[in-house]
């Protein structure tokens, strides 16, 4: 027998660094992680903070409250809708409510930078694109489902309230646009906010940018009196987010501009470009 080894004798180091070094082996089974894990994680995150409950709670209150309110107002008055679709009354609630969705979208990404949680998140999932994708998927689905439920409740209520007030019966495609269509548009608006939050990394800054995007074109257009600016003015009006939202109810504020499903394609394009930008920045920057 030779001299006894010290109790913590170092194992012989392998010459090649890429083979796993000897050492501790955990009894927990090893799992190859994928997007599904990141989505489960983001779902836990979004449901476990109070800001989600607040923003979505206020959103539902605004959409249903204002929707039922305007419905009741029109129903109680002697006025006649003159063959208009009753679904159009859902517009006001959704326009105000969209600010809540914007806020939640921004908070989903930007709050992680504010709290420092992003370092923990990126350590747990070094694939930054996967984190952004998981956040986008979870947020989009949550925003879409909540908007769809709220918009559908309002649409059904208004249709039944205004049946005898000169409103015409909406067609199937009007129903579809007034519920699924607007919900997709609002959820995309929220998704754009999420992406802006990831780029700006600052909650207040990103919310300000998004509310500016929502309101500024309309407000600026209102003050463009000069004749020479009339083209710009019309463009701003037509492509302002409130007007695009109204297109889903086929009561656009303007006679020209986007029609049908155009607003959805525009929102999709803008969000896709912003998403690509956010992805590149995320890969390039330090966390």
């Amino acid at each position: 027998m030779s001299t006894p080894q010290p109790p913590q004798a170092p194992p012989a180091w392998p010459a090649t660094p890429d083979s796993r070094t000897p050492g501790y082996t955990s009894p927990i089974p090893v799992v190859r992680t994928h997007l599904g894990h990141a989505i489960a994680s983001e779902w836990t995150k979004i449901r476990s903070v109070r800001s989600t409950m607040w923003t979505l709670g206020v959103f539902v209150l605004l959409v249903i409250g204002i929707g039922l309110g305007t419905g009741a107002l029109v129903a109680s008055s002697s006025s006649d809708l003159g063959g208009e679709s009753p679904l159009a009354l859902g517009f006001f609630g959704l326009l105000l409510g969209s600010m809540c969705v914007i806020t939640l979208g921004v908070l989903t990404t930007a709050s992680e930078y504010g709290t420092g949680m992003i370092r923990t998140t990126m350590t747990a999932c070094p694939s930054r694109g996967r984190v952004l994708a998981a956040k986008a998927i979870v947020f989009f689905l949550v925003a879409f489902v909540v908007t769809l439920v709220a918009a559908s409740v309002v649409a059904l209520a208004q249709a039944s309230m205004l049946e005898n007030h000169g409103a015409r019966v909406p067609t199937g495609s009007e129903w579809f646009k007034g519920t699924v269509g607007v919900s997709l548009f609002i959820a995309l608006l929220g998704l754009l906010s999420l992406v802006i939050g990831s780029i700006v990394r600052h909650s207040a800054g990103a919310i300000t940018i998004m509310i500016g995007l929502l309101l500024a074109p309309l407000v600026i257009a209102l003050f463009m009196f000069a004749e020479s600016l009339s083209k710009v003015r019309t463009g701003l009006l037509e492509y302002s987010i409130p007007n695009q939202l109204s297109v889903f109810y086929s009561n656009s504020l303007t006679s020209s501009g986007p029609t049908g499903w155009d607003p959805l394609w525009i929102a999709l394009g803008v969000t896709a470009v912003a998403f690509a930008g956010a992805f590149v920045l995320l890969e390039k920057r330090d966390v």
Binding site: P10, W13, R20, S48, R50, G116, P126, V287
Partner: protein
């Protein structure tokens, strides 16, 4: 095993980490020491792929961090105890981390129990004290039962009981064969926990040595003597050829030596002693001398040479380690 190879990080004009090359081995606690702003946290962030190195490379068991499929199972890190969303409960914070790496939820309860936070698992993290936040961060690091653990200043804000707990925890983790890499700006803390020591200053490697070697090289021992018959004692010691340094408060210091011969000498000459004690110069002083040197290197813009800056060659490492153990 964490391997750093010429790791460099430049922020605008400031070189935060300057050409760091060293290896963190399994089975021991490696202390990562440096004054505030030396680049410890930046280095750790680069290990975790949070910051991109300006140049150089860092590998974890041969892989870049973003190539690891199950990072929490591989390396657990406590970088910043505040890196949590304050509105989320401790349980949900750990749950979302576990889910992202496919770790069973039962493990969340286990680590909460390990760090002693089970009672406040459903409480929001923003109500946590600094020490509780630190424990939550450690729970997150332990979540995946990883083979490598990295702690940035883990004892910050902990009470004495918590500090003792962390020391024991780190030693037991290393004893299980895991790689433990822990940073601190306190030499005294490292002396109690670390087996191996990596010292940096101004982003530059100053020492990569075993703790035992560091202590042997840097600790100065001396005997402190106090006596009401100070003048006589001085004469006697002088006659015996012992060099004495007079210090404030009437005490005398005798370099190196042992206390016994001085005591016997005094007894033979019937000198009353009020104190006769063996003293060790603190490692803190040695550490400060070492890091002060880095400032000099920097000012004279010399090459990062000197005996300290030599990275330990790979082949000799085991021998070095045995000495340290």
């Amino acid at each position: 095993m964490i391997e750093l190879e010429g790791l460099t990080k430049r922020y605008d004009e400031k070189l935060a980490v300057n050409n760091l090359t060293f290896t963190v081995r399994p089975g021991v606690v490696t202390g990562f020491l440096g004054p505030n702003g030396a680049g410890k946290s930046t280095t750790m962030r680069m290990v975790l792929g949070l910051d991109h190195p300006t140049s150089g490379d860092v590998r974890i068991d041969g892989k870049r961090y973003d190539q690891i499929e199950d990072p929490l199972r591989y390396i657990g890190a406590l970088l910043d105890a505040k890196a949590v969303h304050g509105g989320r409960s401790a349980f949900n914070h750990l749950l979302c981390l576990a889910q992202s790496n496919g770790i069973p939820a039962a493990r969340v309860h286990e680590v909460l129990d390990t760090v002693g936070l089970t009672g406040v698992a459903r409480k929001k993290a923003k109500g946590f004290s600094l020490g509780m936040g630190q424990r939550l961060g450690i729970a997150a690091a332990l979540l995946g039962d990883p083979r490598i653990l990295m702690f940035d200043e883990p004892v910050n804000g902990l009470d004495p009981e918590g500090i003792h707990w962390i020391r024991t925890l780190m030693k037991s983790l290393a004893a299980q064969g895991r790689t433990v890499f822990v940073s601190s700006h306190l030499m005294s803390e490292m002396a109690l926990t670390a087996d191996h020591l990596v010292v940096i200053g101004q982003g530059r490697l100053l020492a990569d040595t075993s703790m035992a070697d560091f202590i042997a090289k840097n600790s100065r021992s001396y005997v402190r003597v106090r006596s009401p018959q100070r003048e006589r004692l001085l004469d006697v010691l002088h006659e015996a050829g012992i060099t004495v340094v007079e210090t404030g408060g009437g005490a005398l210091e005798v370099d190196g030596g042992k206390a016994e011969p001085i005591g016997e000498l005094a007894a033979r000459h019937q000198i009353v002693l009020h104190e006769l004690s063996l003293q060790q110069a603190s490692l803190e002083e040695a550490f400060m001398r070492l890091t002060a040197q880095s400032v000099e290197y920097h000012a004279h813009s010399e090459a990062p040479g000197g005996t300290w800056a030599q990275p330990v060659p790979r082949g000799e490492w085991g021998a070095d380690w045995k000495k340290g153990a």
